[in-house]
């Protein structure tokens, strides 16, 4: 079977909104002022859109076989020294997959049931170690008892890359306020690897990169213009993982 390698890049829907506004202007006689104010507003919001890239590799385009009653577990890698794949992100991806009628076991429930073999120190990092672990009848029995068919390993983090500007807030008897401007860039990089627990083989992998800039404008009241970088990474990864297990 021919392996499938996909590369997708997309922005949040603001780009298409700008296109639609310009098209509408050319088809109607609305005043220029309305168009320009809309474009300025959109331009401001466009600064808050994240650019997300997804790379995927899997043996075939067919959905991965997942029978009724079989479950998937999404686990975070936590053995790196300088970062940790956070639990909120794992829950976010799990919830995205649950929405597609895929049985997803909670991460902590699975880790506790098989303690201590999926702790950061002991979790298998590759298939040879998983194969050895599954030779233990107690571990194999617990995996089968919970009908865990696939493990999805998530590894990555969200980091603030660059920040600039300054904002200061003050409060006094006559009132208070914030003045200034600050901006920061965030980058989310996550990799997902799917392991088949029955045939003990890798079923595919995904990588998502999401990047965007957020702003905080201090004009008496602080006005945040936040780019949902991590949330975009979660929804993109979750949707793509869903397509691994279901017909699109």
């Amino acid at each position: 079977m021919k392996p499938t390698i996909n590369h997708k890049q997309f922005k949040t829907p603001i780009e298409s909104l700008v296109k639609r506004l310009i098209e509408r202007k050319s088809n109607s006689n609305n005043s220029h002022t309305k168009l320009y104010s809309s474009l300025i507003m959109v331009a401001l919001l466009a600064g808050c859109s994240a650019t997300t890239t997804i790379d995927e590799y899997r043996p075939s385009d067919e959905p991965i076989e997942l029978n009724a009653g079989e479950n998937v577990v999404v686990l975070g890698r936590r053995d790196a020294g300088h970062y940790e794949t956070d639990r909120d992100f794992i829950n976010c991806v799990s919830n995205r997959m649950r929405g597609a009628d895929i049985g997803v076991l909670p991460e902590q429930q699975f880790i506790d049931s098989i303690y201590p073999w999926f702790e950061p120190r002991t979790a298998p990092k590759g298939l040879p170690r998983l194969k050895r672990l599954m030779q233990d009848p107690l571990v194999k029995g617990q995996v089968e008892k919970q009908s865990v068919r696939y493990l999805v390993w998530l590894d990555g983090s969200t980091q603030t890359l660059d920040q600039g500007g300054s904002i200061s807030c003050a409060i006094g008897p006559g009132g208070g306020g914030c003045f200034g401007f600050a901006q920061w860039d965030k980058l989310s990089v996550y990799e997902a690897i799917v392991w088949d627990m029955t045939n003990l083989q890798e079923m595919g992998r995904l990588r998502v990169d999401s990047e965007g800039t957020s702003y905080l404008i201090g004009a008496v009241a602080p006005i945040p213009l936040l780019t949902p970088v991590k949330s975009d990474a979660c929804s993109s990864l979750g949707n793509q993982l869903k397509s691994f297990f279901t017909e699109q």
Binding site: H82, Y83, E84, Y115, P116, P120, R121, T122, Q142
Partner: protein
Amino acid sequence: MLKNYLSKTVLKRSLALILLAILSGCSSSASVRIDQEFPTVLAKPKAISATVVFDEAFATYIAQPNKKTVIDIGAGQVKLLSNAFAGLFEEVEFVSSLEESAGENSLVIIPSVREVQVSTPSENYLNVFEVWIKYSLEIQTADGETIDSWFMPAYGKTPDAFMASKSRAIEEASIIALRDAGAKLMLDFYRIPAIYGWMMEQKILEESE
């Protein structure tokens, strides 16, 4: 007039309370107590009987790694290690002093805490809180002869989160460090050269294989 005064007072107090709540999230000191339950280990114990001594100093151990941090891990570590030792040995007796033991078991293990260290994002320049617990396991035969004094370090970390309290982060990192101690014990106890040698001597390995 009175109504206006009262509403202003209520508003001021509410604002003060909100400010206090926000500032408490930014507190730089942390005092945590770990006494939660830990999962039982998934392992087949070996045909060895052991006595584990959790003395009072160990069972009530309170670590103070720095002036601003206090971690009460006594109860938590007793629960965790009780589970782990039950997964290592077929028969295990837990006592609070060696005198309480009937002396019928082939191994005696006396755990103690050497040191607890913490590191916060302001110290390590990473977005993680870290906790190290360094244990020492005094392992003896039933006759009181020392087999080994095993150094067992455990490590836990938790990511820093916006507006999350330092106490909560250190509590989570401590729980992960305790779980890591259980994992380390299960993974490495029978790999200790002195224990391996003792088991060969007692012909325990041949029996269990």
